[in-house]
């Protein structure tokens, strides 16, 4: 096996091997922590190497088991895939570091680390696979791990949230599976590049469009778009902070990624129908998510609703379907994963300092913890789109793309939702940080338990600032990714070799 193919396999193999080793070390918390941290460190390093390699030398593909395409299962890293794997590595590293100092003993003993690594293996597999059934399998690996992570600990709220989460994701998987079966019945292949070739003729377009709607619903449930998002705000705030942070950062984005993949590679025969529908869904998702957040009064619940609204921005770029719009989506994904993970992690520090996430009972954090306040402001203002932070550029590119094709409704909604996001962020700021604390002195004495948690938070905040400052280079990378998405022949050539 050559070096580039190993590099491509590594993002799946490393967490998978780590998960197995951690399962073997069942109950030994220190060994599991060491395995977990080693795995996420190696994962982020190899992911960055993979991104550099793909950026320099183009799309990389490996046929597993040397079965030639289209019969074998390929792993493919184009720029979008490599970028997503890099982001999952960064999230994994940040959350892993945080969890080592945050997770309680009971959950560690009951297998937090192996499940966390299995989750990352599934996520990375979904980002890299070039086979639609394999995508289903990777989704299931990821979901199974997330089911257990969500209910781990068995608190009442967790189980209630998990019932809804499991039920709706199971439904989505059944729809996904049915769609894969129909697709195979139509095209006779499961290889995504081969599917793109076989479905490119005009006479298969109507049936492909119908099947694409099944995929839209299946991925829509996973990505939590309007009107399929209700499981998300009902479950994401229930598990311990590191678990909700990795869910918030990565899981819905796998749905968005899958949507971008199939609607740029396979279902592009009837874009006036499919992609216009996606724009409509995107706008409604943005508005309902942000309005839902406005009604909440608990840090993680507010943030959960904002995931929904931000998903709308990401698929808006897919729906507009121009070069700049797709690049905007890719940029938004990169920005959002880092910022949202960080906000959840900060919510955890606040919770640990004051024992609650209810905004009514929080307060005085700016006076007692000015550094934490600054750390909160960076991702919060970035989420709302204040220059010069990453979120400003992410929104800017999408809005420019919408203006270019005169989609003025999209422009208006994107701007309005940005303003309401700012409202939610200032609400958290005012209530948790600015207003006077009702019970002074309670927050003291926890310093040693909180201090190590700052490390991943500072790292992610620096990354947010960096993406903002280096918006040019990051955007040109996104444009390259968008070029690859808009010209599927590159992907097809890399996989099928013709």
């Amino acid at each position: 096996m050559s070096a580039p193919s190993l590099l491509l396999l590594a993002p799946v193999l490393i967490p998978l091997l780590g998960a197995m080793l951690a399962f073997i070390a069942w109950g030994r918390r220190r060994t599991q922590k060491a395995i977990g941290l080693t795995a996420v460190t190696l994962l982020s390093a190899t992911a960055i190497l993979l991104l550099i390699r793909v950026q320099r030398q183009g799309i990389l593909a490996v046929q597993i088991g040397n079965w030639d395409a289209p019969f074998g299962i390929p792993l493919v890293a184009d720029l979008l895939g490599a970028l997503m794997v890099t982001l999952s590595g960064i999230t994994g590293l940040a959350v892993g570091l945080y969890a080592v100092f945050y997770m309680d003993r009971k959950r560690e003993i009951h297998g937090f680390y192996p499940l966390f690594l299995a989750l990352l293996a599934g996520v990375n597999g979904a980002f890299l696979t070039g086979d639609i059934f394999n995508l289903y399998v990777c989704f299931e690996i990821m979901l199974m791990a997330s089911f257990v992570l969500l209910s781990l600990g068995g608190e009442k709220a967790q189980l209630e949230g998990a019932v809804k989460y499991v039920a709706l994701n199971f439904l989505s998987s059944a729809i996904f599976l049915a769609a894969v079966g129909l697709l195979y019945g139509t095209a006779g292949t499961l290889n995504m590049a081969d599917l793109a070739v076989k479905l490119s003729s005009d006479d298969t377009t109507p049936i492909a469009t119908i099947i694409s709607m099944l995929f839209l619903v299946a991925f829509g449930i996973k990505a939590a778009v309007f009107p399929l998002f209700f499981w998300l705000p009902a479950s994401y705030h229930t598990p311990p902070v590191p678990i909700s942070a990795v869910f918030a950062g990565l899981l819905t984005k796998v749905g968005v990624y899958a949507m971008i993949r199939v609607f740029t590679l396979i279902f592009i025969g009837d874009t006036p129908t499919t992609h216009t529908l996606i724009v409509g869904i995107a706008l409604l998702t943005m508005v309902t998510g942000v309005l839902g957040a406005a009604a909440q009064f608990d840090i993680r619940r507010i943030l959960s609703f904002h995931i929904v609204s931000q998903i709308g921005y990401m698929i808006l770029g897919l729906g507009l379907f121009t070069r700049v719009a797709l690049a905007g989506s890719v940029f938004y994904l990169a920005h959002h994963i880092i910022v949202k993970t960080n906000l959840f992690l900060i919510g955890g520090i606040v919770r640990r300092l004051q024992g609650t996430e209810d905004l009514g009972r929080l307060g005085g954090l700016y006076r007692s913890r000015p550094f934490l306040a600054v750390l909160f402001l960076i991702p919060a203002m970035s989420l709302a789109g204040i220059p010069p932070l990453s979120g400003f550029f992410a929104k800017l590119f999408l809005i420019v793309a919408a203006i270019e094709i005169r989609a003025y409704i999209s422009v208006a909604v994107a701007l309005g939702v940005g303003l309401l996001t700012l409202y939610s962020m200032t609400k958290i700021w005012n209530e948790a940080f600015w207003k006077a604390a009702d019970r002074n002195g309670e927050s003291s004495g926890n310093e040693s338990r909180v201090l190590p948690l700052y490390l991943p938070v500072v790292g992610l905040a620096l990354l947010t600032v960096l993406i903002g400052l280096a918006a040019g280079p990051v955007f040109s990378l996104s444009l390259e990714a968008a070029d690859q998405l808009l010209d599927p022949s590159q992907y097809i050539r890399a996989v099928l070799g013709k």
Binding site: F133, M144, S151, E160, V163, V166, A167
Partner: protein, 115 residues
């Protein structure tokens, strides 16, 4: 033959969706199970029904003779059955735990995590 299969799939989907709309948590789970069976049968039917011709390759030949059954949908179904079995088993335990902890099997009463 396809028509019978298609009708069976339709019945499974309709029954599954109806059960999922019930408020009882166990009926909901049965609905999910029916839905995944329906999906499996759908793959089987969509892949093409062929009777009595096993996909065996003669010695010396490179590929199976024309007209044999396509083994791929069956492989997909096998994988899907294993996965849905695991998920269903997990969901069953989860729902049982949720029932014991909340004391209700009515999905409409599970509202404490919503706003």
């Amino acid at each position: 033959m396809e028509l019978i299969f298609a009708a069976t799939v339709a019945v499974l989907y309709a029954g599954g969706l109806y059960m999922m709309l019930r408020r009882n948590i166990v009926k909901f789970l049965l609905g999910l199970a029916m839905l995944s069976h329906g999906a499996n049968l759908l793959i089987f039917t969509a892949g093409g029904l062929t009777r009595g011709k096993a996909p065996l390759i003669e010695p010396g030949a490179d590929a199976a003779a024309a007209g044999v059954a396509d083994p791929l949908p069956q492989a997909l179904i096998l994988t899907a059955i294993v996965i849905s079995f695991a998920v269903l088993a997990f969901a069953l335990v989860l729902f049982l735990r949720a029932y014991r902890l909340t004391g209700t099997d009515d999905l409409d009463d599970l509202r404490s995590t919503e706003s």
